[in-house]
């Protein structure tokens, strides 16, 4: 360590720039944007640095910072990073950096928008780097709550026809509006965080109310009953954020209604918070229960994969397709984790990263298409490939990654997960996984063909559309580059993650 508290710098830089934006950049939209760029690039540099200098031989938690906050309760500001969280922090940096550029054109109240976005990001970083569960929970809430405002104010509404035996309820709750989506998302996630809080407190009490430190909990052997229900609490609590079936329905509505950068951040990073929580807290602290309940986690993950892919295929709104594809891909993440094998877990963490980047790219592209064509209806658009070749190419690359095409990050992640699945105790998990990848190829290419690589429509609105411009290129370029880079050289990501996986699994299954 070289004296500079890198993790704190990384975590608080966006927060500080949010303060600057709120108090120093009133009515100066360019300054707002550039302040955000500066703040997020500080985080980006810090996270790349941390990632690069992370000592893979020593492994374990590094870059430790500790300040006692409430010694009598054992709460301290304890930050540290290991192979998994370093990758997640890197992901966050890349997505928010691209997200700042992707929302360059936000007109209404851009000051508040950027400020909230940056505060949210601080929360996300905080969760990934905190080792004190009290602080972690605090950051978690910071990451969840601004969403309500971001979707409720800057979101977009759609229309959904009430049908079915619960049709009567849909009109009453206002399904389809942005307020509905914002409320649903927030309530769902808060519902989840109640479980998490209870779980954390239960562990704290069982540990003799000494300390909230992750390391202290990790050293404990909790008894089986406690492990079982705390694990389930963590699984449900974090799992909601990770989009586990059948608690995933906040995700399509929320992501479809949210503005571009928020969708990018939410699907790209926040859903990973959920998976990260399940792996780090659920499996890491409660090894016995994790092994006992692996069948449940894996089976639900399989449902997620296939169900999400089929639902995505049924959508006609571009943003919903992407949102459901996230549900499907998060299934791969949890499936990999549930295999309890080296490859599976490597694949799981790598998929968190890969999916974060690709879904960030997708939402950025949907935002751009909507901005140019003012439509998200897949079957009304057509033949955009010749008008916006850049966007079309980026969409294709993102799509190929999501269907697991080699030379993109998606392949490596899926391949590792499949290897893990087949060597786990439930080899049949391999098949839903593979089928999901195949279904993905169908819905992704169908959309790509309809919107970009197909014949032009006659609709006069869609005859002269511009390609991406200026800052938008920056967003697309970064994401495409990362997606391909990590696909061609996967050891960049798998290397550090592997240092985390080994000891982690040793604790879980003793191998």
């Amino acid at each position: 360590m070289n004296g500079l508290p890198l993790l704190s710098v990384m975590t608080w830089a966006p927060f500080v720039s949010a303060l600057v934006i709120m108090f120093g950049a009133r009515h100066r939209p360019r300054l707002v944007r550039w302040t955000s760029v500066v703040g997020t690039s500080i985080s980006l540099v810090a996270s790349v640095w941390v990632y690069w200098t992370y000592d893979r031989v020593a492994a374990g938690f590094q870059f430790r910072e500790e300040i006692a906050l409430v010694p009598s309760l054992g709460i301290s500001y304890l930050l540290a990073i290991d192979g998994m969280s370093a990758l997640m922090a890197l992901l966050t940096s890349i997505i928010i950096f691209a997200g700042v550029f992707a929302s360059w054109t936000v007109k209404e109240r851009s000051q508040e928008f950027y400020a909230l976005l940056l505060v949210l990001v601080t929360g996300v970083y905080g969760v990934f780097v905190s080792l004190d569960l009290f602080i972690l929970f605090l950051f978690y809430e910071i990451a969840v709550l601004p969403m309500y405002l971001l979707i409720g104010i800057w979101g977009s509404s759609g229309q959904i026809r009430p049908q079915g035996i619960f049709g009567w309820a849909m009109g009453r709750t206002g399904v389809g509006t942005k307020e509905y989506a914002a409320m649903k998302l927030t309530l769902y996630l808060l519902f989840g965080s109640a479980f998490i809080l209870v779980g954390i407190l239960a562990l704290y009490v069982a540990n003799g109310s000494q300390s909230f430190s992750f390391l202290a909990f990790e050293a404990m052997q909790f008894d089986s009953t406690l492990q079982t229900w705390v694990f389930l609490a963590f699984y449900v609590g974090f799992g909601i954020l990770a989009g586990i079936w059948p608690l995933h329905t906040w995700s399509p509505d929320g992501h479809a209604s949210a503005p571009t950068a928020v969708s990018m951040l939410h699907a790209g990073v926040l859903m990973k918070l959920g998976a990260y929580g399940v792996v780090r807290l659920g499996m890491g602290l409660l090894p016995e229960a994790a092994v006992d309940w692996a069948w449940l986690v894996g089976t639900i993950a399989c449902i997620n994969i296939v169900y999400g892919a089929l639902s995505a295929m049924a959508q006609t709104d571009l943003k919903y397709v992407i949102a459901y594809s996230s549900v499907s891909h998060m299934g791969i993440v949890l499936l990999g984790a549930a295999t309890l094998t080296t490859n599976g877990l490597n694949g799981s963490v790598f998929q968190m990263f890969a999916h974060g980047i690709m879904t960030g790219l997708f939402f950025a592209l949907v935002g751009l298409v909507y901005e140019k064509a003012h439509s998200r209806e897949i079957f009304k658009m057509g033949g955009f490939g010749s008008m916006m070749p850049g966007i079309a190419t980026a969409f294709t690359i993102g799509g190929l990654s999501s269907l697991g095409l080699p030379a993109t990050a998606g392949f490596v992640a899926e391949f590792l997960t499949f290897l893990g699945a087949w060597t786990s105790d439930h080899p049949w998990w391999l098949f839903p996984g593979v089928i999901g990848a195949f279904l993905t190829s169908i819905y992704v290419l169908r959309v790509a063909k309809q919107i970009f690589w197909g014949p032009k429509t006659d609709d006069p609105h869609f005859q002269h559309l511009p390609d991406a411009q200026g800052p938008e290129w920056a967003a697309l370029g970064i994401l495409v580059f990362v997606l391909v880079l990590f696909g061609v050289v996967p050891s960049l990501a798998v290397g550090p993650v592997d240092t985390f996986t080994g000891p982690f699994l040793e604790r879980l299954v003793g191998r």
Binding site: G164, F166, M313, Q315, A407, S441, L445
Partner: protein, 627 residues
């Protein structure tokens, strides 16, 4: 000078990669069109030179270069690299050769394409050349799969090159989906095999397999899954449906990808892993039967096509079936030999057909006729290709076809052997049907006037030199291979002597081919046999063939009704039932709130009453109940 075949092969592999990277990143160069094309051709030429040297330098040596690619558990899970041996360098040379010639040819063929489109085309071509070579040189299953998918991607991109045509966009996605369905099998096979053996590496696997250290339990499933990948890529029944549609791409693409190289990847894979399949004879029998059936099915389909490219496409499917049958019969080397000769003459046929299409501006055989006089170069090379395909002595496909028939007979596969003999007849028939309809007979001037305009009316002519040179090179090579192999006879001997066919085999095979030619001549040239009465004689089969035996319809129906219908049902359930429960819960909560909201009068004093009464109750409770 480098003499290590591995390094040379690496150079051959990296040159197209360089070309792709430059064209992909340097957008201004790409948009210039022609300079980008020549850059790509230059790289392909260099790659060809390196590949030839690698082949010449190799002999029987095996050269392996490996780099760790994917870590796991502190070690290395998978590597990438180059495995250069006799087979792979030979295949590499074929790929480099055809890629180079096709790229050269495309300059002329796509001369009307706007510069950015041309740049895009050459970017894809370079990526394809790189991926295909990476596939050929793959030292393990992981790299093979990576390259396997990448060539599929290039195929998708190039079929859909003219994506503004609805058919092209449709064919591209169809090709991707159907090959991807096969790839699912391959991926499963690779994963299963990894668990069985603990390695992806061909070299190590071969040692295990030949040393008997590979557990046989479940191995049939594994080889079958791997075979599924080959079924998709090499267009075997029932996944052959994508290949004819793939003809919507530019013709040079069909020559390169859908005739000479990518579609043969499945055959190549099975050849590469021959030692693995040898452990599971029951799977090999399936391979042989499906191969022979595919060959017959496709040959029948080829007889009724009116589109010159579709005839060639079905003929490719049919020939792939031939190769697969040979592999199934246990003589992969014969299949591989046919792969090489077929690569040469089928590329030739496609490029020749491309020249015709370029001149006539139509794919339809009825719009052609009498072209031999106007396009003599094209006619001659096309005839060379046709004779090669028909398996006439001194032409390219002769010996390789004999080898396959001999191998199948010697392997005891009488059924497939008979099917293949019928296919040989049909092949000669349908190919000469094309020759007679397109190059002989009366010119169809009416159509040409209509499409090309008065200035060029009735003057289709040979293509420019950049297109002619590749044609002649391929024709010369087909002939060269044919003559040398026929003369030398035993020179290119594959396999043990007991797999030789019986003495009657060669005359009868040639006889069958000649009979096919004769039939075509009588029907389409002399008109002794009326084509329509011939059609009537085979009425039901013909109708079925025109409907493509309804296989495409089954896929279409399965996709539209089965998959999309099911997905819509799932989508509905998600929106209205899974989410509906949630909405119902929230609606109930809202209703309950409505019902009790009256309690909140908003008047401060009512609340004070509440507090006071509550306090009183609490006091009384403490006083009496607790005490």
């Amino acid at each position: 000078m480098m003499t290590d075949p591995g390094l040379l092969a690496l150079v051959a592999l990296l040159l197209p990669a360089l070309s792709f990277l430059v064209l992909a990143v340097a957008a201004p160069l790409r948009r210039l069109g022609r300079p980008a094309a020549w850059f790509s051709i230059l790289c392909a030429g260099g790659s060809l030179a390196a590949a030839v040297q690698a082949w010449a330098a190799g002999g029987d040596d095996v050269s392996r270069l490996l780099w760790a690619w994917l870590p796991a558990g502190g070690g290395t899970l998978a590597s990438v690299g180059v495995l250069a041996d006799a087979d792979s360098t030979l295949m590499l040379t074929l790929v480099a050769l055809v890629a180079f010639l096709v790229q050269l040819y495309s300059v002329g063929y796509l001369s009307d394409e706007p510069p950015p489109g041309l740049g895009r085309y050459y970017t894809y071509q370079s990526l394809f050349a790189f991926s295909m070579m990476a596939l050929v040189l793959a030292p393990n299953f992981v790299q093979l799969f990576i390259a396997w998918e990448l060539v599929g991607l290039c195929s998708y991109l190039l079929i859909g090159f003219w994506y503004q045509k609805p058919e092209a966009a449709r064919a591209a996605t169809k090709a991707f989906w159907i090959t991807k369905a096969g790839d699912v099998g391959l991926l499963i096979g690779i994963v299963l095999l990894w668990r069985q053996s603990g390695t992806f590496d061909f070299f190590e696997l071969r040692l295990l397999a030949e040393g008997g250290a590979l557990p046989l339990a479940g191995l049939s499933l594994i080889t079958f899954c791997i075979y599924l990948g080959a079924v998709g890529k090499s267009a075997q029944f029932p996944l052959h449906v994508w290949l004819p549609d793939a003809m919507e791409g530019p013709t040079p693409v069909s020559a390169l990808i859908h005739a000479a190289t990518m579609v043969t990847a499945g055959v190549y894979l099975l050849t590469r892993t021959e030692w693995l399949f040898a452990l599971t004879p029951e799977v090999l029998a399936v391979v042989a039967w499906i191969g022979a059936f595919t060959a017959l099915l496709a040959a029948v389909l080829a007889c009724v096509q009116d589109d010159i490219k579709r005839v060639l496409a079905y003929s490719t499917v049919s020939q792939l079936g031939y190769m697969m049958t040979a592999i199934g019969a246990g003589l992969a080397a014969a299949g591989f030999f046919h792969l090489l000769t077929h690569g040469l003459f089928k590329a030739l046929l496609f490029l020749g057909a491309g020249a015709v299409i370029h001149a006539v501006h139509s794919n339809d055989l009825s719009h052609m006729g009498g072209l031999a006089r106007r396009m003599p170069h094209t006619a001659i090379v096309f005839l060379v290709g046709t004779l090669s395909l028909a398996g006439i002595p001194f032409f390219g496909g002769f010996l390789s076809k004999e080898e396959i028939l001999g191998a199948v007979w010697a392997g005891g596969f009488v059924g497939p052997f008979l099917l293949l003999m019928v296919v040989a007849l049909l092949t000669a028939f349908y190919m000469f049907r094309v020759v007679f309809l397109a190059f002989f007979g009366e010119p169809a001037t009416a159509h040409i006037t209509a499409t090309v305009g008065a200035a060029h009316a009735g003057h289709p002519h040979d293509p420019p030199a950049s297109m002619r040179v590749p044609l002649w090179i391929l024709a010369a090579m087909s002939l060269g291979v044919g003559i040398s192999s026929t003369m030398a006879g035993q020179m290119l001997q594959f396999g043990p002597a007991e797999r030789e066919g019986p003495a009657w085999l060669m005359p009868s095979a040639v006889g069958v081919a000649l009979a096919g030619i004769l039939l075509a001549w009588l029907t389409y040239q002399r008109r002794t046999i009326d084509a329509s009465s011939l059609a009537a004689a085979f009425g039901p089969i013909r109708r079925a063939a025109l409907a493509r035996f309804w296989i495409d319809d089954i896929f279409e129906g399965g996709y539209r009704v089965g998959l999309l219908g099911f997905s819509r049902a799932v989508g509905w359930v998600d929106r209205y039932l899974v989410d509906g429960v949630l909405n119902a819960l929230s609606a109930w909560t809202l209703t309950a709130g409505d019902d009790v909201r009256g309690m909140q009068t908003g008047r401060a004093q009512d609340y004070v009453y509440g507090v006071a009464v509550g306090l009183l109750v609490l006091l009384l409770w403490v006083q009496w109940v607790l005490a």
